[in-house]
């Protein structure tokens, strides 16, 4: 094959085997050889002849034994002379890193890319591209898990269950797609006026007042009966048994002469009627309900308040709208016209939109800038699928941000307000009306799967003839197999299957869906195959290259234009790469890559402690997660430099974050670029709330977690994975110490120091960010008393002291200086980014022979100020990317 492309990089491979530095022999000689040498081989283990270079699995296992024994403190034995701490820490530091390198080297696939199946995301996207619908694939097993990207083929397994799941999901996708196609032109609209709530509240107020009066009368009647001298004995007995008066009244039936609550209109339908009477006596939240009805403009709209009664009884907390069950799947638009009252405080001008208020899945949060005189209308696009068929995923809700994310948090806010004003939180958000509209999809292009099928999609038309079916199956399979026609026998099998279904009584469309679902479980659909008969490395064909490129940048199959492009021409490749990156489908790459590259799964591992960080509510957390993606999307879109992730004079935020960070200037509804004032700690990854949130546990910060993250992701100096069996330091437990004092203990034990001397100082420099990513200048610690409760007397406060020194590196005085040092190491960051990109794109772990490729990518990107897009151009034009 004649290649028009000139490859950028040579592929000279000179990977030296990872080896322990010679100097460490001294430690062996001094401390190990007397028991594990030529004379004695205790435990049948000898170290003096252990090669320093780790060239095979056996040697690696021996060194692993050495590392394990020294990490666990088993060697040298306690009663023997111990090596000096520094020497031991250096030894362990080197050995742990050499082992990482050795594992990598021994596990090196030598550039071979294992054929792989589509991972869960790609499978979902591939169905979407083929059939035009999104389905829920959560039941497929999660990919990855061993720390590699979910594109790495050798980790993507197949099982019998999975094949059946693929067929079932394929069938589901076909059902969904047929439903979309047949309902494409349906339009529906419902309009809901906010003031619908008002009469409900008014009636409830009336009811509460009336019920309270009746309850008081009943109570009096019970008390009167209880006061009768002839009842003295039983009453005394009941009072002793039930000191609580409500509980006492509940036993009214045992007091002769006490009236049935039902005669006062309290009928709890089979349960104890007295409970209803007792409850009505308190008329819970009556004042708040009265306050609601007295608000201005309640005849034109609804206020969003807090939860008072059970939502089924009365709901003034949120508005929930059920999309009618008979409305079809498809694209929807939700509109809401809303306003905030004049004196609404800034932090209460945000509206959450989501599905199913009780479980509180917030989809997005909007700042309400509309006034009562001039409300604003917000338009929200929404897609409903066959997964939205039940009440709890079909009920849309609007609620004030963070007003009732959880019962615990809602109660806390409500109690605070009652303490302040005796009523409850002030009503500040107002909704005029809400509209839900199902819009026609008829103008959308027909998805390629259907375009290929060209068969009737309902049973009103006559059943297709055999020849017609045969051709349709062939076209559909070719499309599903990304352009490769299926073998003739395969189509025959499909025909037979269709016949079996028809004979079993299926109507033509049912038999068709069943048959097509088999295509979606077939290997040519599930695997990205690049055949190479003679086991030799070869260049990819055009089709294969198009597939590789689109699964890299879209996590989805190539479209027609890409399949037709001659990607061997460098200028075509550049144009197409840019086109793919500018297409909305590149979201498939960005979201997955960023999430895995930066290890963002930790964001969802724990909940923030809202008592400590009340502002970090669900809406804010969603927005903070969004900031990471939006910032990287911005950099990629505008060909900005990777350096902007280390330090930048701007942020990409929305209104929720602007408020959280105290930054002004967001104009639109979504994320946008805002310049930072001088001296702002924001800008770049290290200024983001979500990044710092991950570096803690929702309550306290973890300098270790943060320091390790910086080394791993930004500085290309990953600490070895958490070693097994290192003894934990327990002597400081329960002591009142500053974070720094606590962590300094790491420096005493060489096993700990070997890694922590690098990790901890960076973490100290980030201590100005609290566990929810806000800037702070002070921290505190409170010990627990004997009962495990915080003991306020023990509380110690200290000013944050961010000054520290990199291990064998520069010192810094504060966060800003630390950030400058990290920003100056942009080449290390570029390397870390390149490696991640290669692994993700090629679906194989990085090996030593990839060094020239990495260098080449960094060089090329370096010429354009490390523009993020240039890394991708360099990678896709490399020989590795074009080779099987």
């Amino acid at each position: 094959m004649r290649r028009l492309l000139v490859f950028l990089f040579s592929s000279v491979v000179l990977a030296a085997d990872p080896a322990m530095p010679e100097k460490h022999r001294a430690l062996f000689k001094e401390h190990c050889v007397s028991c594990h040498g030529p004379e004695k081989q205790k435990g049948k283990f000898r170290v003096d002849d252990l090669p320093l270079a780790i060239t095979n699995v056996e040697i690696a296992e021996k060194w692993q034994k050495v590392l394990n024994a020294m990490n666990s403190g088993d060697m040298p034995p306690e009663d023997e002379k111990q090596p000096p701490s520094i020497a031991k820490a250096d030894f362990l530091d080197d050995l742990a890193n050499v082992m990482v390198a050795a594992r990598r080297s021994l596990g090196d696939q030598k550039g071979v890319i294992t054929m792989r199946r589509l991972n869960r995301r790609e499978y979902k996207n591939t169905l979407r591209e083929l059939l035009g619908v999104e389905i829920n694939v959560a039941e497929l097993p999660q990919d990855g898990g061993s720390g590699a990207f979910d594109t790495v083929g050798s980790n993507l397994f197949m099982s019998a269950n999975q094949i059946e799941q693929y067929q079932a999901l394929g069938r589901e996708a076909l059902e969904e797609a047929f439903a979309w196609q047949t309902a494409a032109s349906v339009t529906k609209k419902l309009h809901y006026e906010g003031e619908t709530t008002t009469p409900k509240v008014r009636d409830f107020v009336k009811y509460q007042i009336d019920a309270r009066e009746r309850a008081q009368k009943w109570v009096k009647a019970v008390d009167d009966a209880a006061a009768k001298p002839e009842n003295k004995e039983i009453v005394a007995k009941l009072r002793a048994e039930f000191p609580n008066v409500s509980r006492f009244r509940r036993e009214w039936a045992r007091i002769p002469g006490a009236p049935n609550p039902r005669t006062f209109g309290f009928d709890k339908k089979g349960e104890n009627d007295a409970d209803l009477a007792n409850d009505s006596l308190g008329a819970g939240w009556l004042k708040y309900h009265e306050y609601y009805t007295q608000m201005p403009d309640v005849d034109r709209g609804a206020y969003l308040g807090i939860q008072t009664r059970h939502p089924a009884e009365l709901n003034v907390n949120y508005i929930e709208l059920l999309v009618p069950f008979d409305w079809p799947v498809g694209d929807y638009i939700v509109r809401v016209r809303a306003a905030a009252v004049k004196d609404a405080p800034a932090e209460r001008r945000f509206l959450d939109f989501g599905i199913h208020a009780r479980t509180g899945k917030v989809l997005n949060t909007y700042e309400i800038t509309g006034t009562m005189e001039n409300p604003q209308t917000i338009e929200i696009p929404l897609t409903l699928t066959r997964a939205n068929l039940s009440r709890d995923n079909r009920s849309l809700f609007f609620r004030e941000k963070g007003s009732w994310d959880t019962n615990e948090e809602g109660n806390r806010k409500r109690a605070e307000a009652v303490k302040r004003n005796g009523i409850g939180p002030e009503l500040v958000l107002w909704v005029d009306w809400i509209e839900v509209e199902r819009v026609s999809n008829a103008a959308k292009p027909v998805p390629p799967g259907f375009a290929a099928l060209k068969l009737p999609l309902d049973d009103k038309s006559p059943a297709p003839a055999a020849a017609e079916l045969h051709a349709a199956f062939e076209r559909f399979a070719t499309e599903a197999f990304r352009g490769t026609p299926p073998p003739a026998d395969y189509v025959e099998r499909l025909m037979r299957l269709y016949d079996v279904r028809r004979k079993a009584g299926d109507k033509p469309v049912a038999a068709l869906k069943e048959t097509l679902s088999v295509v979606l479980a077939s290997p040519m659909f599930l695997y990205l195959a690049e055949p190479s008969p003679d086991d030799k490395r070869r260049f990819l064909t055009h089709e294969e290259l198009a597939t590789r490129l689109s699964y890299f940048l879209w996590s989805a199959p190539p479209d027609v234009e890409l399949r037709k492009s001659d990607l061997s021409k460098p200028d075509v490749l550049i144009t197409q790469t840019n086109r793919l990156l500018d297409d909305p489908r590149s979201e498939g790459f960005l979201t997955a890559f960023v999430h895995q590259w930066l290890g963002l799964d930790r964001i969802d591992f724990f909940e923030v402690n809202r008592a400590l960080y009340p502002r970090f509510d669900t809406g804010t957390k969603v927005a903070a997660k969004g900031e990471i993606h939006e910032t990287i999307a911005h950099i990629l879109k505008h060909s900005a430099s990777l350096r902007d992730l280390l330090k930048a004079d701007y942020v990409i935020i929305n209104r929720v974050l602007a408020h959280y960070y105290g930054i002004h200037g967001v104009k639109g509804e979504g994320y946008e670029k805002v310049s930072l004032p001088k001296g702002s700690p924001r800008g770049g990854l290290l200024g983001m709330a979500a990044i710092h949130f991950m570096g803690g546990n929702g309550e306290r910060t973890s300098p270790v977690e943060r320091g390790a993250w910086v080394l791993r992701k930004l500085l290309h100096d990953p600490p070895p994975p958490a070693p097994a069996n290192v003894p934990a330091i327990t002597r400081l437990a329960g002591k009142v110490l500053t974070t720094q004092e606590r962590l300094l203990a790491h420096q005493e034990d060489p096993q700990c120091a070997s890694c922590h001397r690098k990790i901890d100082p960076i973490g100290f420099g980030l201590e100005n960010f609290d566990a929810a990513g806000q800037w702070r200048t002070e921290d505190s610690y409170t010990a627990l008393d004997a009962n495990g409760k915080p003991d306020p007397k023990s509380t110690k406060r200290w000013p944050i002291q961010p000054a520290a020194t990199f291990f064998k590196g520069p010192s810094f005085t504060d966060f800003f200086a630390l950030r400058d040092i990290i920003a100056s190491k942009s080449n290390a960051f570029a390397r870390s980014f390149s490696e991640a990109l290669i692994e993700f794109a090629l679906g194989r772990p990085i090996g030593f022979r990839d060094e020239p490729l990495i260098d080449g990518i960094i060089n090329q990107a370096g010429k354009k100020d490390l523009a993020m897009r240039e890394f991708i151009h360099a990678l896709v034009s490399s020989k590795e990317f074009h080779t099987k």
Partner: protein, 424 residues
């Protein structure tokens, strides 16, 4: 049929044909034997236990041992459980992988040129022998919370003959349906359905065969997973055919509510384990238990990984509460196994070999894996506290269990022999 099998035989040396008898040439299940059959159950959790309060005092061994704080809820069964200390998987290096190598003892790096390798798990070794006469050779139970629960890679506790992960059933409702839901369709339709499933396999195999042409050796190995999966379905279809006219057992328990998580999820899964054994639907079960949702269901706010790095205070309290709750659940399971009577008057408990534990001891320690053994199925000496020499292969314990169950395995994983002290 012939062509497909012929193709399977020729496509790769690794795909061997299932024995004729398992392909459904007998119309009915094996006649019930007089003696109750042997069963094996593994219950695995991630993130280890609380070191200080879970392990019994090493100075008090043998039958004169004392229950530790974390095992207290098992007091009523003290004479029927054995706690083993000192065992580990010598190749285990991953401080956060509590289950990946727990039952296999494999070396992750054994294959040059690969960064991950595993081998068959003890339950699958048992299933090949104990699973012949039941509807399911083995059942793997899993949790939707697996990723957060410190288990490491895998789809369940089980790994097949070739060291590939075996998929698990994700939740109690799915497990219930797998075990007890009967098809309501008439026999003839179900036969037609089986025929259709075979036609589906025929079709996809046609495609796989074409794909295989021209692949490199590594890729063929990868595609073998697909062939192997097809073969697994075939074997299952064969079994389905064999069991077609035998309705599934009537469930002794009600269908679980959907959405159970944490403590309730474990409890219901344990009930399903008893139900599966009681009805002889299978004789080998594993359960990869949730830890993250367990904490949530106990109203513990600490994240599971943070809990495992406890120091005295709320994290250690969380860790201890987890220990106690898990022990309490296990005690409840043992109660039920004991209460269930077999036809010959013995109890289900007498015929089960059950191991409960993790590859992680505590924090990042992978030595002295927490191990509790119970049940009379493997004829182990129960009511003991056994402190074995440090770094005894955990696989020696599994091998001892397998032998006790009558499974003729020569060795397992990195085993160096059986644990004589365990044998009654």
């Amino acid at each position: 049929m012939k062509t497909r099998r012929h193709f399977l035989r020729s496509s790769t040396a690794l795909i061997t044909l299932p024995a004729l008898e398992s392909m459904g040439f007998r119309a009915f299940a094996a006649p019930k034997t007089a003696a109750p059959p042997n069963r094996m159950v593994f219950l695995g959790f991630g993130w280890g236990v609380t070191n200080e309060t879970w392990f019994p005092d090493v100075k008090k061994t043998g039958a004169a041992w004392e229950l530790s704080e974390g095992l207290k809820p098992l007091a009523r069964h003290q004479k029927d459980i054995t706690v083993v200390q000192g065992c580990s998987n010598k190749f285990a290096n991953e401080a956060h992988w509590g289950s990946t190598f727990w039952l296999t003892g494999a070396n992750r790096y054994a294959e040059p040129g690969q960064s991950f390798h595993n081998s068959i798990s003890a339950d699958q070794v048992a299933a090949a022998h104990l699973g012949k006469d039941t509807r399911y050779a083995s059942i793997q139970l899993n949790t939707p919370d697996a990723q957060n629960s410190g288990h490491g890679p895998g789809l369940s506790l089980a790994w097949d003959l070739r060291g590939k992960p075996v998929a698990g059933v994700e939740n109690p409702v799915a497990a219930f349906h797998r075990l007890f839901s009967n098809e309501t369709t008439p026999l003839s339709e179900r036969q037609a359905m089986l025929a259709q499933k075979r036609s589906v396999l025929d079709a996809v195999l046609e495609d796989a065969k074409r794909l295989q042409n021209g692949l490199t050796k590594t890729d063929i190995d990868k595609l073998d997973e697909y062939f192997q999966s097809i073969r697994d379905i075939e074997v299952r279809l064969g079994k389905d055919e064999q069991w077609l006219s035998v309705p599934k057992a009537k469930s002794p328990v009600a269908e679980p509510k959907p959405g159970l998580a944490g403590k309730e999820e474990i409890k219901v899964m344990y009930d399903l384990i008893v139900a599966a054994l009681q009805t002889d639907s299978t004789r080998v079960l594993t359960y990869r238990q949730p830890v993250g949702t367990l904490l949530q269901s106990l109203d513990i706010k600490v994240a599971p990984h943070d809990m495992s790095h406890y120091s005295p205070g709320d994290r250690m309290a969380a860790s201890q509460k987890r220990d106690a709750t898990q022990s309490e659940l296990l005690a409840g399971l043992i109660d039920k196994l004991k209460a269930m009577k077999e036809a010959d008057g013995t109890s289900l408990f007498d015929h089960v070999a059950l191991a409960y534990g993790s590859n992680i001891r505590t924090i990042h320690y992978l030595d002295n894996c927490p191990t509790v053994l119970t049940g009379g199925g493997a004829k182990l000496k129960l009511g003991q506290h056994l402190v074995l020499p440090k770094d005894t292969p955990l696989c020696n314990v599994w091998l001892t269990m397998l032998h006790g169950l009558g499974v003729p395995a020569e060795r397992h994983g990195d085993s160096s022999g059986v644990v004589k002290e365990l044998q009654a």
